[in-house]
């Protein structure tokens, strides 16, 4: 029974972890799963704790959309089309904040939240994750860029990279710490390097047109409504920043980083250190929302995650797309052939032409550097994706598959990780990397549908499973509601009007 509209069920006022007072423990009952014991909320980190788990979202989110799809749309429709990107990324930043609300308040993933509302919803995401994310197609762009620099065939890079990812994650003591360190350095280099390249190649006019284009609200050229471009434009908005289930996985990274009540849940360890893996609690925790001190700490955590969302996620995603748009404009100015190729939609040819154009201006090394960044973006996305997928599936299996708790969380994580790696290598060698051609449309449909669905889940979970004082405000609900209508509406409109899913 859902008993979440009231304040926490009261037992002993001092019901703390294992206090063993002999009295009943205070719990928060939410949905159909076990009640959450009341624990102390840790202090929010001070400003010096700059880096948060947003690093994962940035790694996952800054992908081909930012470095290729949006520059392409700008070249085709002009910089004014970028207002749609602004909407897309801002919506994702709001989704991120709402995902963080549940994860930080309970230490549970959003999947567990979905299961509290209605278990089949969680199984839907479990299946979608497998269908959409086991195909190793995302490796190809980064590995192909690496081939351009080194001459090593991309298939070799991709297969070796896959095994390497598995080995590193299996040997790591605490996977989250390792990955946060690696991704932080990679993204730091990416951001600094992108800024410098943009400062060398771009100009004031490129930047002003890109920036002013972001505020050309309402601009929508008639060609963008054609059956060729509409699905691409909608897909680019939906996939601006993290797409598919990446936002849901973010809740697992938040928990492992110890944010909010996630501090009460142990971290996942690598396979070699599985013996040290602590017992996972069967459910999350809740803090006392009637206590003014606890609410003060909660506000601190909200400030921390808002800073993360706005500066790191929103800021870096914006910076990388603006930089790449400036780069694309500069490349098209140098070489009109680039514009034709980018408009034509052949991604590899377009990236190659952009690199050539930079080589013409700044020497072959600048061309190589451009490919270096594409490879770096690919590497970030692949590392993040493999970890996130395994984390999400292991979490759902551990908590909701009968008998799964005979294994440790580390074992399940390693099982999914190596499963997706072995499958990936087999597919790279013998099958279609993006998935069978016949189901590509279904996969694209599911990916967008999942985004609409998680907005609905967020509304349900945050408004029904959390105590009143920490529920979202009406305008926050309105934005997430708009997200649900937008993702699902555009998906079905595109299907009904043009007979194609977003791409």
């Amino acid at each position: 029974m859902v008993d979440s509209s009231k304040v926490p069920v009261s037992g002993s006022p001092g019901g703390d972890a294992g206090a063993g007072t002999g009295e009943s423990e205070r719990v928060w009952r939410a949905g159909r799963l076990d009640p959450m014991p009341i624990r102390k909320l840790p202090e929010a980190p001070p400003a010096i704790h700059l880096l948060g788990p947003t690093v994962f979202l940035v790694a996952l989110g800054v992908g081909m959309g930012e470095s290729y799809m949006w520059p392409r749309l700008v070249l085709v429709f002009g910089p004014e089309i970028r207002w749609l990107f602004l909407i897309g990324v801002t919506l994702q930043a709001m989704v991120m904040l709402e995902m963080a609300r549940y994860a930080m308040a309970t230490g549970e993933s959003i999947f567990a939240g979905a299961a509290r509302v209605f278990k089949p919803m969680m199984w839907f995401f479990f299946i979608v994750a497998i269908l959409v994310y086991i195909w190793p197609g995302h490796l190809s762009a980064g590995a192909a860029a690496f081939e351009e620099i080194t001459g090593i065939p991309w298939l070799v890079t991709a297969c070796v990279g896959l095994v390497l990812v598995g080995v590193v994650f299996s040997l790591a003591r605490v996977i989250y710490d390792l990955l946060e360190n690696v991704l932080s350095v990679l993204i730091g280099v990416l951001v600094v390097g992108t800024a410098i390249i943009a400062s060398l190649v771009g100009s004031w006019s490129d930047l002003t047109s890109t920036l002013t284009g972001m505020f050309a609200f309402g601009y929508f050229p008639s060609e963008a409504l054609s059956s060729t471009w509409f699905p691409i434009v909608v897909g680019s908005i939906a996939f601006a920043g993290p797409s598919g289930m990446q936002q849901m996985w973010y809740t697992l990274h938040l928990r492992d980083s110890g944010a909010g009540m996630g501090a009460h849940v142990p971290k996942i360890r690598g396979l070699r250190h599985a013996g040290e893996q602590e017992e996972m609690p069967a459910r999350g925790f809740m803090f006392d929302t009637d206590d003014a001190d606890e609410m003060k700490k909660w506000k601190g955590w909200r400030r921390w995650v808002t800073f993360d969302a706005l500066l790191l996620f929103w800021g870096i995603t914006m910076l990388v797309t603006i930089s790449f748009t400036v780069l694309a404009q500069a490349a098209a100015r140098e070489n009109p052939n680039v514009k034709t190729l980018i408009e034509g939609g052949d991604r590899d040819a377009a990236l190659s032409a952009m690199s050539d154009s930079f080589a013409a201006v700044g020497g072959p090394v600048l061309g190589g550097l451009f490919f270096g960044f594409i490879a770096l973006i690919g590497l970030n996305a692949t590392l993040g994706l493999f970890d996130s997928f395994s984390r999400g599936q292991a979490d759902m299996t551990y908590f909701f598959v009968k008998g799964a708790r005979r294994f440790k969380m580390s074992h399940l994580y390693a099982g999914f990780l190596w499963g997706v790696i072995v499958f990936g290598i087999l597919i790279l060698l013998f099958g279609p990397a993006d998935g069978p051609a016949g189901v590509l449309d279904i996969l694209a449909f599911l990916s967008t549908f999942a985004m609409g669905a998680y907005c609905v889940v967020l509304l349900l979970v945050n408004n029904r499973m959390l105590p009143k004082p920490i529920r979202p405000k009406w305008w926050q609900n309105a934005i997430i509601g708009f997200g649900a209508v937008f993702y699902l509406g555009m998906l079905f409109y595109s299907l009904a009007r043009f007979g194609v899913v977003v791409s």
Partner: protein
């Protein structure tokens, strides 16, 4: 200023210096290669790398002496709003000096400066991001002989200590829960229910 004091200051500035140098040298330097002789390429690399490194070191000193809020974005962004365009102007002027033998500003200097000022925000994020990764570890290493480093590191350590203590307390509590000898008999109904469900299956 004696040598030891200079050395101590150098230690404080090193992480920022390295981040600036890497950023400038890798991206700017490689971009300037243009098939030129190695010596020329090196000069070009240094004209961007060195100003960024010196400025980066300067930021490190400010942070270490707590003149700017450590880890804060706004001070770093303000610092690079001035510093980054300055480094780029130096890069352009010195590159021209070497290329054509006389120094000169880029065409439309105001537009150039404004553009570099905007890009500096992006650079500041990346710089701070990397600096916050490197600096606390380095400062911890030099802390025994460098009191300023010890002081700034203690600010980072205080936070880490708090996090560690919280984690240890949770571990103790969990161990206590698992160890039946240490656990008193459960009393209330809700607690008994919660524990039963929380127990490992």
């Amino acid at each position: 200023m004696d040598t030891t004091r200079l050395l101590r200051l150098g230690e404080l500035a090193l992480p920022g210096f390295v981040v600036g140098l890497i950023a400038g040298a890798v991206a700017g330097g490689l971009a300037g290669l243009v098939g030129q002789p190695t010596g020329w390429a090196l000069v070009s690399m240094l004209t961007l790398g060195l100003p960024l490194a010196l400025l980066g070191g300067g930021y490190g000193l400010l942070a270490a002496h707590r003149k700017v809020r450590i880890g804060g974005f706004a001070p770093a962004a303000l610092f690079w709003l001035v510093g980054f365009p300055l480094a780029r102007v130096l890069h352009e002027v010195l590159s021209r000096l070497i290329l054509v033998g006389e120094p000169g500003l880029p065409p439309d200097p105001l537009g150039f400066l404004a553009y570099q000022g905007l890009v500096s925000a992006g650079f500041a994020i990346g710089f701070l991001w990397l600096h916050e990764r490197l600096a606390p570890r380095w400062w911890r290493r030099v802390a025994p002989r460098n009191p300023v480093a010890a002081d700034v590191y203690s600010a980072y350590a205080a936070h880490a200590k708090r996090v560690f203590e919280q984690r240890e307390a949770r571990r103790r509590a969990r161990r206590q829960q698992r160890d039946p000898a240490a656990r008193p008999a459960p009393g209330g109904k809700a607690k008994a229910k919660a524990k039963a469900k929380a127990a490992p299956r």
